[in-house]
């Protein structure tokens, strides 16, 4: 697997409160990526999240990829509550615009309920890359990990 260096600006997200209609601007470390499985493919944006152990995707994405879902006996702990989940394998392709890194057979978790965004947690992204968040500049850098 050949890894590439990446540098991304945080993505500016203007969210509109559903009740007050107030607009709020936040910046998030988002990685352009694609999931593939069994001849199915979908480009998405994944939230880089060091607080998540692994990759999490919504059930809607798992269904169109036709992932082979397996019940997992250990539920996920999210925002103070417990959610049952499936696990599956998928191929993850990082990048866009011709600079792609393919990471085959990654483990993904699929919560049985809720509307999770695509979350790129520590395994395998933070194992493969040294990631520097430059919060003051709203950008981050991903460099292939090299053992010291």
């Amino acid at each position: 697997m050949k890894l590439l260096n990446y540098a991304f600006n945080y993505k500016k997200i203007i969210s509109i409160d559903r009740v007050t209609k107030e607009e709020k601007i936040d910046f998030y470390p988002i990685v352009p990526c694609r999931f593939e499985w069994a001849g199915n493919s979908q480009a998405v944006e994944g939230l880089l999240d060091s607080g998540s152990i692994g990759i999490v995707i919504p059930m809607g994405l798992a269904k169109i990829l036709n992932l082979e879902l397996t019940e997992y006996k250990i539920p996920m702990k999210v925002v103070g509550r417990i959610v049952d989940r499936y696990i599956a394998k998928a191929n993850l392709i990082l990048g866009r615009g011709g600079r792609f890194v393919s990471i085959p057979d990654v483990d993904v978790s699929i919560p049985k309920e809720g509307e999770t965004p695509v979350i790129l947690g520590r395994k395998p992204i933070f194992e493969l890359y040294t990631i520097t968040f430059i919060e003051a500049e709203k950008r981050f850098i991903m460099e292939p990990y090299k053992k010291q």
Partner: protein, 57 residues
Amino acid sequence: MREEEVKGLDGEWLILLDNNVVERSDSAEEIFKLAKERYSDKDVIVTKVLSANASFY
């Protein structure tokens, strides 16, 4: 690097085509189905309007 931005309701799912929103939904299942059925021949991206106000789940 240019700054990308997206705008929508808290927690809303979006389909982006050339950085323009072409579909919106509150349901991940619906938005991924739309992406597959209507845009499989186009280079679309599915994303979500993240917000500190809205729980991910």
